[in-house]
Point group: C2
Chain length 344, copies 2
Amino acid sequence: MRKKKPTIHEVAARAGVGLGTVSRVLNNHPAVRPETRARVLRAMEELGYTPNPHARRIAGGRSYTVSVLLPFVATEFYRRLIEGIESVLLEKRYDLALFPILSEARLRRYLESHTLAYLTDGLILASYDLTEHFEGGKLPTDRPVVLVDTKNPRYDSVYLDNFLGGHVAGTYLARFPGAIFAVKVEEEPDRAFRHTVFAERMAGFLQALKEQGRPFPEDHLYTTRLSPEGGRLALRHFLEKSSPPLNVFAGADQVALGVMEEAERLGLTVGQEVRVLGFDGHPFAEEVGLSTIAQPVEAMGAKAAQLLLERMQGYAAPPREVRFEPLLIERASTGTPPAVPYVP
Amino acid sequence: MRKKKPTIHEVAARAGVGLGTVSRVLNNHPAVRPETRARVLRAMEELGYTPNPHARRIAGGRSYTVSVLLPFVATEFYRRLIEGIESVLLEKRYDLALFPILSEARLRRYLESHTLAYLTDGLILASYDLTEHFEGGKLPTDRPVVLVDTKNPRYDSVYLDNFLGGHVAGTYLARFPGAIFAVKVEEEPDRAFRHTVFAERMAGFLQALKEQGRPFPEDHLYTTRLSPEGGRLALRHFLEKSSPPLNVFAGADQVALGVMEEAERLGLTVGQEVRVLGFDGHPFAEEVGLSTIAQPVEAMGAKAAQLLLERMQGYAAPPREVRFEPLLIERASTGTPPAVPYVP
DNA sequence: CTGAAAGCGCTTACAG
DNA sequence: CTGAAAGCGCTTACAG
């Protein structure tokens, strides 16, 4: 049997101070002599002391944990988002609890009930537009709430301009000669929420093509679920419509990866015969030399955490809206763009 | 501003009883007169009272929440598993907190530190074999731990016999005439853990074919990531090797779905020209008429929860091992098996 | 069966 | 700057 965890009492005794003092160093209270603080810190270290969040919360303070409610889809996007959130929270000694939303019913339970999710110090909601889920468009909680990867005028929101990203993609690909194709990622219909990012990206893309006077026949668009294999099928489909060089915009790096894989498998030179532009800027894109419209996911997560921290510290002004812009990153998969843009 | 949540005090006052009595009905203590219990329950209802898990935990009792640590992959499998776990936990008034494991580092943090994950009443670990992650193969926690979808002699384990499932699949498909093919799902290499279920399924499958005297050339195996599009690519590949009728075993229903989709797209009759057998028994398999090797995921989750509950109530015997068997479900995608098994 | 008291591990004014 | 006390919302013996 493991020994019981040491409490603040043991720390106080060992450091030869009162409970209050220990608590003060725990909470970074300025009114502690550096010398005393050091002594307490050492005692904690020696005892392997670690504060009990339940007790902290019960004592009227904070639990020092933040809940992140996110869709039950474990993708690279959410991994990066969580990383960003965590990076700033950790610095402030906050912990993270993830609550994957499996259904709308579960979301309600998280929020209306006594679940732990409800009892942390603040909430970050990822990718949800809440207005449709609750009456009055307001979440049934009085903790601070921040939205990320979606927005709502009632809450601090951090989001990416996906339309702009698609537009940048379209403008860029229009510089090249050759037919233009696009792979759109299908939204999952059975989710408790509607995700519109893929549609927004495509809308921006089509708008840009129109502005550049580049035609885009309907059958140049291929729709698939989010998977590399979807990209492979897409390329095969495109090659039935048109011969190289092909310019392909994939609405997600995952899919773009499949396009590249299939091109290689067919012996086509990526960057020349098949130019591929992805969207996301996931780490693996760099590894495989994929040009992409990068979204600063980690930065968005960090920003969301920062806004939440401010709210938890009492900031009470009206909701803020932070818009991030995606960035074109040129790599080998699109080759070298012509000095003079192609004119149809 | 929302009113403060009512506490046990308000409930006691309203019901005209002492604090202890309220606590007793909260904890289902038998020593409460039915009449009194009813009165307390009504007071709770009227006040919208809901107990504070932090306080419960701090008071030396339970927090009435259980942590589930699971890989950061949101698939139908884990949705079902959680559903199963939750079904029995809910009944005992326990809540669930999910902790997706993003990396081994995070797993350690969950377990070694003061995170909430560590401070609930018990842990369920899904799909992990822990021995490789901690010294001595023992988790650094003294809470009860139950494993599911994996096993370890040191802990109560609930698992599926994947080899048997593959074997059943092989024996079944061998009854049909026509070439036999298989789609294997690739294990994700960048996970913090090694998942071997797909390999086990395939091993059982191959073993059965051998026993039935059915040849299985190496190029009848197609490997892909887990996606329906992978199944579509697989079928196209198989059709280059052999003409219908084809018998395809897909290591996962997701992939089998893609095989069906592609067959239909190519105008091939599923169940005759292309026979497909999946693995998982996910709900959507029934909708599309997919024959499959069903694993009782919900039942496995429920069993794990039950074992954990027993441990939390003090059950202290050596670790138990519960093995579940998959079940063949025949539907339209494999058509009608011949009265007399095919003999090569 | 039920109430009053002690205590869980912490924080936060309140006095020094 | 620091200690002692009160209190957070609950549970658990302890007496009746």
